[in-house]
């Protein structure tokens, strides 16, 4: 069966989604979703192991040979992204049944699980497929499903946020499909590897350049690169906290993956960065994202919205890494992909714990939270430290590799900017910590810890933050492996 792991990676959750509708019962649907999500996580672990030992895996769907049929192609990069997506899914899902009680729909919970599984299927599919059009289809599956998830938020504005997400997401997907169409016209193939092989022969004509522009802008919308980020803060603020945790840790990561895949594999380093001057604009936008979004985050009242803006800033770091166009830079980018999934997941889950006690996420309502919900707030603080990049946390590892990569690329200014923007993160995290630990809880404020079902997943992610802040061989090893392959320096 190990030969069929790439198909199982997507099919398990795809099968479970409609099955959730058929079983109807809330607990049954939950168990079904939980077991398949964990199975998907196991599959992604096996896949990563297989890729690291035997090299790239190619799987032909329906038995049709590669450039004609749809090919699933797993290398170190997407095996790693699959691991992140399915891992976060596996941690976040056990969180849902208790938080659902407060935040959501009651008897219709099975529909939530169906949408969650479809979203997971879409994200896994985007990461695993080696076919450009197939990628678009999975992207649509995931964005339609995440639109449903966002609209389930407790506030009525969740509906407008979801609608905006739908519209912007559709624009992004349309750009991507136009790009894919143009490139199909230029090369006559949809298989990404085949495109990469044929592009040098077709020459870099205007069609190819237009396709490149459409694809990069489309991907930038999907991953919320500044200034195309405007849909993200709204969506993450009004979505249920569980959904924010899941999407913040996976959806934008997959977007970054799509960007890397198109820049480095499909179009190739030579075309993307030498024929066209893509690196500089990406770098400028990334730095702007780091500074503008962090500054906006400082002035937010709502903690959830603050975290959402901080996500935009963190995406800046990832894009900054890849815009250096070195093996080190890409490594840093991919490592941060992993680490940011861990810290944002943990932070949004901590917010979900708080949502269990009180409906407001305003900073002044966090007064005395350190005494009212000690475990939750400790988790939030630990996640915040990781976000800032304090040593012994995963965030530090990302920043460290980013700074090293910037110095190695002879960009001391960029290295300095990374440090300065980290200080901005100190400010916005401090505002919450200050309110939680140094202000008296208002009389009559809801007190009491969130149930263990919510705390355990949160603390699991925090523990992983610390673990991967010390033991870095997995993320860094895989990221280096992936980065070398992408830069064409051999595995």
């Amino acid at each position: 069966m190990t030969a069929h792991l790439p198909a199982l990676q997507v099919v398990l959750t795809l099968l479970a989604a409609p099955a959730c509708i058929l079983v109807r019962g809330r607990d049954l649907a939950f168990l079904l979703a939980l077991s398949t999500t964990w199975a998907a996580f196991a599959v992604s672990c096996l896949l990563l192991d297989q890729v690291l030992t035997t090299g790239t895996i190619s799987y032909e769907l329906g038995g049709w040979a590669a450039p004609f049929g749809i090919e699933y192609r797993v290398d170190a990069l997407n095996a790693f992204v699959l691991l992140i997506v399915s891992g976060i899914g596996a941690v976040v899902l056990p969180f849902t049944p208790r938080s659902l009680l407060i935040e959501m729909v009651g008897e219709k919970a099975y529909l939530f699980y169906c949408a969650f599984l479809l979203c997971l299927t879409g994200l896994l599919g985007v990461a695993i497929t080696g076919d450009a059009f197939n990628l678009f289809v999975f992207l649509e599956i995931s964005s339609l499903a995440s639109c449903i998830l966002i609209s389930l938020g407790p506030h009525r504005r969740a509906l407008t946020a979801a609608f905006q997400y739908l519209v912007v997401g559709t624009i992004g997907a349309t750009f991507i499909v136009i790009g894919i169409g143009l490139i199909y016209g230029a090369t006559g193939t949809l298989n990404m590897n085949d495109i990469a092989e044929r592009l040098p022969a077709t020459g870099y004509n205007r069609t190819v350049i237009a396709a490149f522009a459409f694809l990069i802008v489309g991907a930038a919308i999907k991953l919320a690169l500044f200034p195309l980020h405007f849909w993200l803060p709204k969506a993450y603020t009004y979505a249920p906290s569980t959904v924010s945790a899941f999407l913040a840790a996976t959806a934008t990561k997959v977007g970054v993956y799509v960007l890397i895949r198109f820049l480095f594999t499909v179009f190739g380093v030579e075309f993307s960065f030498e024929v066209l001057p893509t690196a500089l604009p990406l770098m400028v936008l990334a730095v702007l994202a780091m500074f503008v979004a962090s500054t906006i985050a400082i002035f937010q009242d709502s903690v959830k919205r603050m975290l959402a803006y901080s996500s935009v800033a963190q995406i800046g770091y990832m894009v900054l890494g890849l815009s250096l166009v070195t093996v080190d830079g890409l490594t840093a980018s991919v490592v941060h992909l992993f680490n940011h999934a861990l810290m944002k997941g943990a932070l949004f889950l901590a917010i979900g714990c708080i949502a269990y006690r009180q409906a407001s996420f305003r900073i002044e309502d966090f007064a005395g939270m350190g005494r009212r919900m000690p475990w939750t707030m400790a988790a939030f603080t630990a996640g915040g430290l990781s976000l800032i990049g304090i040593p012994l946390t995963a965030g530090f590892i990302s920043k460290w590799y980013l700074i090293l990569a910037a110095l190695a690329a002879d960009e001391p200014l960029i290295a300095a900017l990374i440090v300065i923007s980290s200080l901005l993160a100190v400010i916005y995290i401090w505002r919450v910590v200050e309110a939680a630990y140094f202000r008296e809880p208002p009389p009559g404020a809801p007190t009491g810890e969130a149930p263990a079902a919510l705390l355990v997943p949160t603390w699991l992610l925090i523990a992983l933050n610390v673990y991967f802040g010390i033991e870095t061989s997995l993320p860094v090893g895989v990221a280096e492996h992936a980065a070398r392959a992408l830069m064409g320096a051999g595995p």
Binding site: L15, P18, I21, L22, L61, G62
Partner: protein, 138 residues
């Protein structure tokens, strides 16, 4: 529109033909133009016509929302299930060759079942969308 005799009689007359035509498009899809999506739309359109003429309540008596919901889940399951069947019989996912003794028969059977799944889902979704629009006032 209940009291318009001509509409009612014509609808009743047309219904079987619409549904049969849908099934023809569905199951003849692998020889001629057609397939699950078109067939599903025609099938759904038959029911929508019935609903337009006889009213939403009569239509719900025939096809309840629960049935439709099961329908669109089942269609996807059939599609993905055929893929898994290929997997279990020793081929790749969605490999129809292994579904029958002869690869050509296998391909026929596979595409027939897949398109059937598509048809079921599309027909249920079409009628569901009609329900959501027509039932908004209530």
């Amino acid at each position: 529109m209940r009291d318009l005799l001509i509409l009612r009689v014509v609808t009743k007359l047309l219904m079987p033909f619409i549904l049969i035509f849908a099934l023809y498009v569905q199951f003849h899809g692998d020889y001629g133009p057609g397939g699950g999506f078109q067939a599903g739309v025609i099938f759904g359109a038959g029911f929508i016509l019935y609903g337009l003429v006889f009213g939403l309540d009569d239509l719900r008596g025939v096809l309840s929302s629960d049935v439709l919901r099961a329908g669109f889940a089942l269609g996807v399951l059939i599609f993905a299930g055929v893929g898994v069947a290929g997997l279990l019989l020793g081929g790749n996912y969605l490999d129809y060759n292994v579904l029958a003794h002869d690869p050509v028969h296998g391909q026929h059977l596979g595409i027939l079942l897949i398109e059937f799944g598509v048809g079921v889902t599309v027909a249920s979704v079409m009628v569901s969308i009609f329900y959501y629009f027509a039932g908004r006032e209530r």
